[in-house]
């Protein structure tokens, strides 16, 4: 669980996006992974191997545990993509699906 430092909460411009269809908001400049954590979502996906839940681990693009579906494209690294207005972020179930 993560929270925003109070002085930032008040000063920042917010971005509206969705997590699995639910409305959510983040700070402009947040990565998708940071935006998920700021919204209390710690589980990004479950693994194709065992189905275990995973969340962001390295936040620098090396661990690939924060893979999510962004605007219909699967296997995006949540920590490497900035959240944008209207973006549809979906937690990912196992492997990336064909055509997504």
């Amino acid at each position: 669980m993560f929270r925003r430092l109070p002085e930032i909460e008040t000063a920042s411009s917010t971005v509206a996006f969705t997590i699995d269809g639910r409305p959510a908001s983040a700070r402009a400049g947040d990565s998708v992974a940071a935006a998920l954590l700021a919204n209390g979502v710690t589980v990004c996906r479950n693994t194709p191997v065992s189905g275990a839940a995973r969340g962001p681990y390295c936040m620098m693009g090396v661990c690939f545990d924060c893979l999510v579906t962004i605007d219909g494209t699967g296997n995006r690294q949540g920590c490497q993509v900035r959240v944008a207005p209207g973006m549809a972020v979906e937690t990912q179930n196992g492997k990336r699906e064909v055509e997504r």
Binding site: M1, R3, R4, I8, G29, V43, M60, C63
Partner: protein
């Protein structure tokens, strides 16, 4: 993209815009070379100066003066005329099969930018790929809620996010203490720090103390550590750790972190935790160098693989040099100076400056590099993680991507598997999207311990491009020559 009348797009490409890359690109371009700085992030700074241009944490005392030093590297880059391509992922660095007609030896860089792949032709490449956190394999380290301390620091720098709920930090090394101190400045909650520094490390490190007493980090480090120890609960001599999704006695619900179990003086204790931040130092991020064919060696003192370089950062591959932590851990200030030395040598190799000018210009940078590295041996030795954390028990997942345990690796060794590349074929460890970044060092050490030989003898994964996943569609859209098409259709 191509420079006029030349088949080279740039003289020099620098990969990575942390301290080494920023300094190298600025110096090389200021001497008249055409330079492109390629970086995966949207803003320069690398991980150590991550978001230094735009961090929402405006109160300078939270992140501290060492962080804000990063901003001073940006002006020289801007003034140098170097081209900066942020948001660019480099997935390959290679020499084409044949030299050019005029005998020059170009280097081709495969990159992905704005969702499209392309190739870039340059004369020289400086890899400044930096460091990543050393894998910290404990049971449960894959649970959501468990992150690297470095990851948590990225969240603070880029987004002003700090843990809420019960928070435990565990491990050892300067970054763990720095993050704790930054959290204190920010008013964040930390329930406990579990210090895993082995008691016996002090004995090994003490003879190296005189060197550390001259280190520029000594004063800062001591103050920071005393501050943290005065204000937070620090539990020392922790010899084992486990992250669990259940509370004491109960079963876990959704498979996320609920508690941390640690052993101290032979007794197990349990702490409730919503967030566990792990750290056991950093190691070179060597995937690109390895896939480029650069020779590497096992560093016993830093207990990691590092690409082999000379005093100018030149690797075993002609035209490819390496600067900063990607060549061996020395810290941000050392990386900056190493970047400048590497740039001078690249200019010399390209015929832009003479040997004498290179050596003269290098003198102040080399002196500064030596200063920055003073006392490093003490830190390396003191903060070497205990064997139990480098060579974990059988039930611990070592390869997060393919969910391969240490026990499975040992079983493969008993079946005759002698090194990481065979283990990969046996078990798929290192074959997932992270390409061994999170398991490679552990797999090497587990096999070495099981065979009772040195890690140097066991070796490391042989990596191949692309070093970051790209889609087939991106690859297929690359421009093709007649020779490329013939190679596919005529055989």
């Amino acid at each position: 993209m191509s420079a006029q009348g030349s088949k080279f797009d740039f003289d020099i490409a620098v990969v990575g815009s942390g301290p080494a890359g920023l300094a190298a690109a600025a110096l090389a371009a200021s001497k008249g070379a055409s330079v492109v700085l390629l970086d995966e992030q949207a803003e320069p700074g690398g991980q150590i100066y991550r978001a230094v241009t735009e961090t929402p944490v405006r109160d300078r005392k939270v992140l501290g003066p060492d962080y804000w030093h990063g901003a001073e590297l940006l002006g020289p880059l801007r003034d140098s005329g170097a081209t900066h391509w942020p948001g660019t992922t480099v997935w390959s660095v290679a020499r084409p099969r044949e030299d050019a007609a005029d005998g020059s030896r170009p280097i081709q860089i495969g990159l992905s930018r704005n969702g499209a792949a392309s190739m870039l032709t340059v004369r020289h490449v400086i890899l400044a790929t930096g460091a990543l956190e050393r894998p910290f394999p404990i049971p449960g380290w894959t649970l959501p809620g468990v992150l690297g301390a470095g990851a948590a620091q990225v969240l603070l720098k880029t987004s002003g996010l700090v843990p809420s709920g019960a928070t435990v930090m565990a491990g050892s090394g300067p970054l763990l203490w720095l993050l704790a101190w930054q959290y204190l400045q920010a008013g964040a909650r930390i329930d406990a720090i579990l210090d895993t520094t082995p008691r016996e490390n002090w004995r090994a490190a003490l003879p190296l103390l005189p060197g550390f007493l001259r280190s520029p980090y000594l004063g800062k480090g001591m103050k920071l550590m005393l501050d943290v120890r005065r204000k937070l609960t620090v539990i020392g001599n922790v010899t084992s750790l486990r992250a669990e999704s259940g509370l004491a006695g109960g079963k876990g619900g959704e498979g996320v972190l609920k508690s941390v179990v640690y052993t101290r003086n032979g007794t197990e204790h349990r702490l409730p935790a919503d967030t566990l931040l792990l750290h056991h130092g950093v190691i070179p991020n060597l995937n690109l160098a390895n896939a480029t064919g650069c020779a590497q060696r096992w560093d016993e003192q830093q207990r990691c693989w590092r690409p082999t370089t000379d005093e100018w950062g030149a690797t075993s591959v002609e035209g490819v040099s390496l600067a900063g932590d990607g060549a061996g851990i020395g810290g941000a200030r050392a990386a900056e100076e190493a970047g400048r030395l590497t740039a001078l040598d690249a200019l010399y190799r390209l015929g832009r400056i003479g040997r004498e000018q290179r050596d003269q210009s290098a003198a102040p940078f080399r002196a500064a590099l030596d200063r920055a590295l003073t006392g490093r041996a003490f830190l390396d030795t003191l903060y070497t993680p205990a064997e139990a954390f480098r060579v974990p028990a059988d039930d611990t997942i070592v390869c997060r991507c393919e969910e391969v345990t240490a026990g499975a690796v040992r079983e493969a060794v008993r079946l005759g598997c002698s090194g990481p590349n065979q283990a990969k074929s046996f078990l798929r460890c290192g074959m997932g999207p992270c390409q061994g970044r999170l398991c490679g060092p552990t797999v090497t050490e587990v096999i070495a311990a099981e065979r009772n030989v040195s890690p140097a003898e066991v070796g490391y994964y042989r990596l191949r491009p692309p070093v970051k996943p790209i889609t087939l569609a991106e690859l297929a859209a690359l421009p093709k020559t007649d020779a490329d098409i013939d190679a596919v259709f005529k055989h």
